[in-house]
C-alpha cells in the first residue's frame, strides 16, 4: 500500500495542473459565453450568402 504515498501526491499535482489550466481558460474568456458556440454548430453552414433564396 505504500505506493499510495507516491500516487496520491502525484494525483494532487495533476489536479493542481488541471485547476491551473481551467483558471487560465476562464481568464482568457473561453467560458464567458456558454450558449452561442453550441448553437453555432447547428446554424452556421457553408452556403454562400447568395444562393440562400428560400
Amino acid at each position: 500500500m505504500s505506493i499510495l504515498y507516491v500516487l496520491i501526491p502525484l494525483a494532487l499535482l495533476i489536479l493542481g495542473g488541471a485547476v491551473w489550466a481551467f483558471f487560465w481558460a476562464v481568464g482568457s474568456g473561453q467560458f464567458d459565453d456558454l450558449d452561442t458556440p453550441a448553437m453555432r454548430i447547428l446554424m452556421d453552414d457553408d452556403r454562400a450568402p447568395k444562393d440562400s433564396d428560400e
Binding site: 499510495l4 494532487l12 474568456g29 464567458d32 452561442t36 446554424m43 450568402p49 440562400s52 428560400e54
Partner: protein
C-alpha cells in the same frame, strides 16, 4: 415562438386590421409593423432564417426596430471614431451595446451579419453583457455603417466610450465559475480519500496511512473552504456588522466549525474527520448560487439600463456653430440644441424656444408638460414638438434620472432582510449533527473504545446533510426552470418563498394594469358630410407629423390621404392641407378657435377645418384585457390588492372602481409609493409590487418581492425579482401558486430529511447500522429529495 396573434418578429400584439405578412421557409407569418417586416425580410434574404427556429421566446418588443431611423451617418465622422474607437494602423476597434438582444441566437445573427459588412475583420458578441467588440478597416467602413447595420436588424446600438472596460457581470461569472470548479474538484477528491478512510475504519487501516489520508484531505479541503466558500464568510460577516445576520451566517458557522473540528482531529489523531461533508456542503451551496447568478445575468444589464434612455449624441452650439458630440462629453453650461422627437441628454434649463415634453419615464404621468424659457428639463424625457436650446446644469449620474437610479439602489440595499428558513434549518442541523457525532464518539470511546470509530462513522455517514442541503436548492432550481417554461423569469431565488407567503399585492396603474398608451374610445361625427373612416384617415394623416403620445393612437397601416403644409402647434395640435381644405386636429380651442370645455377623465380631440368641428374623438388609456380576471383571482386567493399611481385622482378612481380595488392611492411620486409600501410592511403585510416604469424602480426594489412586465422599462426590470415575459397579467397568479407549491415541496423535503435523520441517527448511534448500510441510506434519502423536487417540472 410568438403566439399567433402576436408579431412573428418582435412578439408584440399585431394591430387590428393589419395584414402585413412575411414569408419564411415556405410559411407566411403575420408581423405588426413595416419595420418588423423589413427586419424579418432582411434576415431571410441574408440566408439566416434559422435565427427564428433557434431563438428563445422573445421579450415582447425586443427586436422591434425604432420607428424613426436614427441618423447613424453622423457616426462616420472622424470625431466620432476618435470618441468611440481605438484606431491603430488603419484598424479600428470599438465596443457597442446592442439593446434588444436577448438570446444566443441574437448573438449569432449579429456576428454573422456584421461579418458581411465590407472591411469588418472580427466580431465578438457577448450575450451575457449584450455587448460586442468589433474590429474593422477604417478606410472600408465607418462606425456609422456598422451601427446602421445593427439598427437594420432591429437592435438599438449604442457605441460605448473607449474607456468603458468595466464589465462586472463577466468578472462575477468568471469568479463564480472558478469557485465552482474548486468546490467540485475538491469535493470529488476529498470523497475519494473519505472512501479510503471509511473502508479503513471498516476493515482496519495502518495508523500512518490513516494520518496520511487525513492530511491529504485537509490539504484539498482547505482551498475549498477558504477560496470556494469565501463569499459565504464575507457575506455572513457583512450581516453581522450590519446587525442583520443573513442566511450565510449559520452556513458559515457549519462550514467553519466542521472544518476546524476536522483540522483539530487531523493533527491530534482525533476519532474522525469531516472534510468530505464540508466539501460536499460547500459544493452544493456554490452550485445553487452559480445557477441563480446565471438566471439573474440572463435578464438584466444594470450598467447600461440608465444610459439606454439617453441619446448617443447631442448637438452642442459653440460660437453659433452646431457640433455633434457624444453625450458622455457634455459638460455643465454647454448649450445643447434639442430637436423635436429627441431625448434630452442631460438636466438643464431652457434658454431659447418652447415645447411640450414627455416626462412619463420619470414621473409616470402620460400627459406631456409644457416647457418654456427658464423651465427645467430632465434627462431622459422626450422633446415632443418644437426645437429648444438648453443650458446643461447636470450630467450623467447627477441628473434626476441618476437620482432615481440611486434611490432604487438604496431601497434594494435596505430591503427587509429575508432569512431563508430552509437553509437556516439545514445549517443548524449540520451544527447539531456534528455535536451529536462528537457526543456519540465520546460516549463510545468510554464504553467500548474499539467500536467508537465505526459507530461515529456510521452516524456521520447516515446523517450526511446532503438531503437537507439539497432540499431547498433542488426545489428552487426545479421551480425556476418550470417558471421559465411558464414565461416567468426568476432573477432572485428568494422571491419564491416571499411570493408563497405574500399577503398584499400592490399594482402600478399606467402600463401595468392599463396598456399605457391612449387608444380611441369613441368617435362622434359632428358633420354628416363625412363618415367615421374618412375622419380617422384624415386624422391619421395629420397626426403623422406629431410624435405626441396621442398621435400614436391614430396610427394605421392603411393608405392615407396626402397632406401638405403640416404645422405642429405646441400643446395644441396639428394643422395641414388635405384635399384643398385647411384641416386642424387638436384641442377644441385650436380647431374651432373658440373656447370649449374639456373633461378631465379622458382626453378629447377635435378634428375640423375653417373653425368648423367635424369629428370628436374620445381617447383613454384602457385596462389590459386580463386585468379584471387577474385582480379577481388574486382577491379569491385571499390576497389584499392595492393600487398606487402617479396619475390624477379621477383616472385612478375610475380604474379602481372598474377592478373593485378598494385601496387606491393617486398622485404618488416614487418616494410616496415607497412610503406606502414601507407603511404596509410595518403593519405586517408581505408586499408584492407589480410595476413597469422607471418611476416604479425604487418601489420594486423596496417591496418584499416584485414582478415587472417584460414590456416595461429596463430599469424596472433590473429591480424586479420576477419578470413576466409576454403581454399578459395572468402569470402573476401562476407565479404565486407555483411558489406556494414549491414551498410545499421544500417542506416535504425537509420533513423527509428530518424524519430520516431522526430515525437513522439513534439506530446508528446505538451501533446497529454498519457503514455500508449507512452509505446506501444516505444516497437514497438524497435521491428521494431530488425526485420529489422534480415533480415541480410538471406543475401547471
Amino acid at each position: 415562438m410568438a403566439a399567433p396573434d402576436n408579431c412573428f418578429h418582435c412578439a408584440l400584439p399585431n394591430p387590428k386590421g393589419s395584414e402585413l405578412t412575411v414569408d419564411i421557409e415556405g410559411r407566411s407569418h403575420r408581423v405588426c409593423c413595416p419595420g418588423c417586416k423589413a427586419v424579418a425580410e432582411l434576415i431571410r434574404d441574408s440566408g439566416m432564417s434559422r435565427y427564428y427556429a433557434m431563438r428563445d421566446a422573445p421579450l415582447p418588443g425586443a427586436g422591434k426596430p425604432l420607428p424613426e431611423a436614427s441618423e447613424w451617418q453622423v457616426f462616420n465622422s472622424r470625431e466620432m471614431l476618435d470618441a468611440f474607437a481605438e484606431t491603430e494602423g488603419g484598424i479600428a476597434e470599438a465596443r457597442i451595446y446592442a439593446g434588444g438582444m436577448y438570446c444566443s441566437a441574437c448573438s449569432w445573427l449579429i456576428e454573422t451579419s456584421l461579418e458581411k459588412v465590407p472591411g469588418v475583420q472580427s466580431v465578438e458578441v457577448s450575450p451575457l453583457t449584450h455587448r460586442l467588440r468589433i474590429r474593422w478597416a477604417v478606410d472600408k467602413a465607418g462606425l456609422g455603417d456598422i451601427l446602421s447595420g445593427l439598427s437594420n436588424l432591429g437592435y438599438r446600438p449604442q457605441p460605448l466610450a473607449a474607456d468603458d472596460a468595466s464589465r462586472p457581470e463577466i468578472a462575477e461569472q468568471r469568479a463564480a465559475l472558478k469557485r465552482l470548479l474548486v468546490a467540485s474538484l475538491g469535493m470529488m477528491q476529498v470523497m475519494m480519500f473519505a472512501v479510503g478512510l471509511y473502508a479503513g475504519d471498516f476493515q482496519g487501516i495502518e495508523a500512518d496511512m490513516q494520518h496520511f489520508l487525513r492530511l491529504v484531505s485537509f490539504f484539498v479541503a482547505t482551498p475549498v473552504v477558504f477560496y470556494a466558500a469565501k463569499p459565504f464568510f464575507t457575506s455572513a460577516w457583512r450581516g453581522v456588522v450590519a446587525r442583520r445576520p443573513g442566511m450565510d451566517l449559520p452556513v458559515s458557522i457549519a462550514i467553519g466549525s466542521a472544518y476546524a473540528a476536522s483540522v483539530y482531529a487531523t493533527f491530534t489523531n482525533g476519532p474522525a474527520v469531516w472534510f468530505d461533508s464540508v466539501a460536499m456542503f460547500v459544493f452544493f451551496l456554490t452550485l445553487g448560487r452559480y445557477l441563480e447568478m446565471r438566471a439573474r445575468h440572463r435578464s438584466i444589464d444594470r450598467s447600461v439600463a440608465l444610459s439606454q434612455l439617453l441619446p448617443n449624441t447631442a448637438t452642442v452650439v459653440v460660437n453659433d456653430e452646431n457640433r455633434t458630440v457624444p453625450v458622455a462629453r457634455l459638460a455643465k453650461d454647454d448649450l445643447v440644441l434639442i430637436r423635436a422627437g429627441d431625448s434630452i441628454p442631460a438636466d438643464g434649463v431652457v434658454v431659447a424656444g418652447a415645447s411640450s415634453v414627455d416626462e412619463a419615464l420619470l414621473t409616470g404621468e402620460a400627459e406631456p408638460r409644457r416647457r418654456a424659457i427658464g423651465d427645467l428639463l430632465a434627462a431622459g424625457s422626450v422633446n415632443l414638438d418644437a426645437m429648444m436650446t438648453m443650458r446643461v446644469t447636470r450630467t450623467g449620474g447627477d441628473t434626476a434620472l441618476g437620482a432615481i437610479n440611486r434611490l432604487s439602489e438604496r431601497a434594494r440595499f435596505t430591503r427587509p432582510a429575508f432569512v431563508n428558513i430552509a437553509d437556516r434549518i439545514a445549517s443548524y442541523v449540520v451544527v447539531a449533527l456534528l455535536v451529536v457525532a462528537a457526543v456519540v464518539a465520546l460516549y463510545w470511546y468510554f464504553v467500548a473504545p474499539e467500536r467508537a470509530f465505526v459507530i461515529t462513522l456510521s452516524v456521520l455517514v447516515v446523517t450526511c446533510p446532503c438531503a437537507l442541503a439539497l432540499a431547498t436548492p433542488a426545489a428552487f432550481a426545479a421551480a425556476g426552470s418550470r417558471m421559465s417554461d411558464l414565461r416567468l423569469l426568476l432573477t432572485n431565488g428568494n422571491a419564491i418563498e416571499v411570493l408563497s407567503r405574500a399577503t398584499q399585492i400592490v399594482f402600478d396603474k399606467t402600463g401595468t394594469l392599463t396598456y399605457g398608451a391612449p387608444v380611441i374610445l369613441s368617435t362622434t361625427i359632428l358633420d354628416d358630410r363625412y363618415d367615421e373612416t374618412q375622419c380617422l384617415s384624415i386624422a391619421a394623416a395629420l397626426e403623422q407629423a406629431s410624435s405626441h403620445p396621442i398621435a400614436r393612437a391614430f396610427r394605421t397601416d392603411g393608405t392615407l390621404p396626402l397632406v401638405t403644409d403640416t404645422k405642429v402647434q405646441v400643446s395644441q395640435g396639428v394643422s395641414g392641407i388635405v384635399d384643398g381644405k385647411a384641416w386642424r386636429i387638436g384641442t377644441a380651442a385650436f380647431v374651432t378657435e373658440g373656447d370649449a370645455p374639456q373633461t378631465a377623465s379622458s382626453t378629447i380631440v377635435f378634428l375640423g377645418f375653417d373653425t368648423h368641428a367635424v369629428a370628436r374623438f374620445e381617447l383613454t388609456d384602457t385596462l389590459r384585457a386580463d386585468a379584471r380576471d387577474t385582480v379577481k383571482a388574486l382577491i379569491n386567493m385571499g390576497k389584499k390588492v392595492s393600487l398606487v399611481s402617479g396619475d390624477n385622482a379621477t383616472a385612478v378612481a375610475a380604474i379602481a372602481a372598474a377592478l373593485d380595488i378598494e385601496d387606491a392611492h393617486s398622485d404618488c411620486r416614487p418616494e410616496d409609493k415607497l412610503r406606502i409600501i414601507n407603511a404596509l410592511q410595518e403593519s405586517g403585510e408581505r408586499v408584492v409590487m407589480i410595476g413597469d416604469g422607471i418611476n416604479d424602480a425604487p418601489v420594486l426594489a423596496g417591496a418584499d418581492t416584485s414582478i415587472a412586465p417584460g414590456h416595461g422599462a429596463l430599469l424596472a426590470q433590473t429591480n424586479a425579482d420576477v419578470i413576466m415575459l409576454g403581454d399578459s397579467l395572468h402569470p402573476i397568479t401562476t407565479a404565486i401558486r407555483l411558489s406556494a407549491a414549491t414551498m410545499r415541496i421544500v417542506r416535504q423535503n425537509l420533513a423527509w430529511a428530518v424524519v430520516y435523520n431522526a430515525t437513522a441517527l439513534p439506530l446508528a448511534a446505538a451501533g446497529m447500522v454498519p457503514p455500508w448500510l449507512a452509505a446506501i441510506g444516505m444516497s437514497l434519502s438524497s435521491l428521494v429529495v431530488v425526485l420529489n423536487a422534480l415533480r415541480l417540472n410538471r406543475y401547471t
